[in-house]
């Protein structure tokens, strides 16, 4: 992709910015495609982009029920990192992070990848042991990570509560310097603009209402904007995976929960890293606009209502104030909830389904954003090859019958 630069900005400024091309095209559905991707979030759009790049001859459409980026891609707390405990996970998320590192230039769209470091806190001696294991395991993958003493953490994060009476004393932590944040909407728009430029039809306000399946093979979909024929269909609809897969008669090992997040009013720079506290569930960063972006625990009952329980919000906010007293007099500006699909082992599913030609990418739980480039790349590869590549083989349906889970939650206790 090209077209965006300081120079083009200057040139268009002289023309009153009247000459900019459409970045987010709005295509109308054609009767048939080679591949249809369902879901206009980050994973779906990335899938479209990488598939179009890998197989230029394919006629590809992406259908989105609402507007692109309207799901979890636009509701998350924008954290990117690859500091996962198990080799299988680390390989997948590291692949995503490496793609992220070149993504702005590749898409010619500033995704504002800010590798400001992600610090994970330990609040006890036992936490420190867990973190030492975690950090070492990541180093064993050849991924950057270093253990920090309490002193080092406080030096990097002066706003942490150091009072002797604090409920959450910091015993240390570990940092992945290459972790950080990226502008979530920009990732969505950047992929959409690039995919469209490669000829993908991006069709918004187009809801899938049924699958056309014959002899165990998918033939197409019914949508709110008419029928679309395609022999290969990929689903990437985080939060609603069970519902959509259900339309194809597939029962998923997934439960949808509401995850709440909130931001403060913008203030001058306070925090230049991303901090995660598995012990309290609080994770926090400060956006470039100056807002403190805070996320917390799941509401632990199945939900598709994008409003969480206020008492969960309260406990997260209270824990955040306890850890960062400076928040006490700062104001919460906006809170929201996103619907995440959670698998028992907090690891994703990228695989073929029991229906021929129907593929799925789901189960990222609370951590889908950081995986977008890998999730898209792998799903595109799966659709193109019709067999799982090495990266995603551990993340198929087979693990639920064999028991070979990739249990990040069980082992590390958190998987945001």
């Amino acid at each position: 992709m090209r077209g965006y630069s300081a120079f083009s900005l200057l040139r268009h400024a002289l023309g009153g910015h009247a000459g900019w091309l459409r970045a987010i095209p709005d295509a109308a559905p054609k009767p048939a495609y080679d591949v249809v991707i369902i879901g206009g979030g980050g994973h779906g759009l990335a899938t479209a982009y990488y598939l179009a790049r890998q197989a230029p001859k394919l006629r590809i459409a992406l259908v989105e029920r609402g507007w692109i980026g309207g799901g979890n891609s636009g509701r998350n707390t924008t954290i990117v990192r690859s500091n996962y405990l198990f080799a299988e996970s680390a390989a997948l998320y590291e692949f995503a992070l490496r793609l992220y590192e070149g993504l702005g230039r590749e898409l010619n769209y500033n995704i504002m990848l800010s590798q400001r470091g992600v610090i994970t806190l330990a609040h006890s001696h036992h936490d420190m042991d867990t973190i030492a294991r975690w950090a070492t395991s990541i180093q064993m993958q050849g991924i950057d990570s270093e253990v920090l003493t309490a002193k080092q953490v406080h030096a990097e994060v002066p706003i942490l509560n150091t009072a002797p009476t604090t409920r959450y004393p910091v015993f240390g932590g570990f940092v992945q310097r290459r972790g950080g944040t990226a502008r979530h909407d920009a990732v969505v728009w950047g992929y959409a603009r690039a995919a469209a430029a490669l000829g993908v039809d991006i069709i918004q306000n187009c809801e899938v209402t049924a699958f056309d399946i014959a002899a165990g093979q998918v033939r197409g979909i019914e949508t709110s904007r008419g029928a679309i024929r395609a022999e290969r269909i990929a689903m990437a609809v985080a939060g609603h995976s069970s519902v959509l897969a259900g339309l194809a008669g597939i029962r998923m090992p997934v439960t949808s929960y509401c995850l709440q997040a909130f931001v403060s009013e913008p203030v001058k720079p306070l925090l230049d890293t991303v901090i995660m506290s598995p012990g309290t569930g609080v994770y926090i960063s400060q956006s470039d606009k100056g807002e403190m972006v805070i996320g917390g625990q799941l509401d632990l009952y199945p939900s598709y209502g994008q409003r969480g329980s206020p008492h969960i919000l309260e406990s997260v906010a209270a824990a955040a104030v306890e850890q960062y007293p400076v928040l006490s007099r700062m104001r919460m500006l906006r809170q929201w909830g996103g619907i995440v699909d959670v698998v028992h082992d907090s690891s994703p599913i990228i695989d073929r389904t029991s229906v021929g030609g129907l593929y799925i990418n789901c189960g990222w739980g609370t951590g889908g954003f950081k995986a977008i480039p890998a999730g898209g790349w792998c799903l595109a590869d799966l659709v193109a090859q019709d067999r799982p590549g090495d990266l995603i083989r551990p993340f198929g349906f087979a693990r639920f019958t064999s028991g070979a889970l990739v249990d990040e939650a069980g082992a590390a206790g958190i998987a945001h």
Binding site: Y301, P302, S303, S309, P310, V343, T401
Partner: protein, 91 residues
């Protein structure tokens, strides 16, 4: 924070309860196939709409019971006894 009707204590704040997930999932005998066992452990209806699920009044009387709850609006019907089959879904 919606209210949950406890069979003994009446309507109480949801924060007093914990959700046990989908109700009446039948536990296969140990002879079951790996597939059947996997479906028991992991397979979930996870509907967008009415969901038959079990709750525990964990911070109250401790009772376990079933509810029919709408997963979007959190409208609730019940409570029902833990062994009761799922009632008809409201229109």
């Amino acid at each position: 924070m919606f209210l949950i009707p406890c069979p003994h204590c009446g309507e109480r704040a949801q924060m007093e309860f914990s959700c046990g997930g989908e109700a009446v999932i039948v536990r296969p005998a140990s002879a079951a196939s790996d597939e059947a066992w996997a479906d028991y452990l992991f397979g979930r209806a996870n509907p967008k709409g009415w969901h038959y699920e079990r709750w525990c009044h964990v911070h109250g009387c401790g009772e376990w019971f079933n509810l029919l709850r709408h997963t979007v609006t959190h409208a609730i019907r019940g409570p029902f006894a833990i062994r009761d089959a799922a009632p008809k879904v409201p229109q």
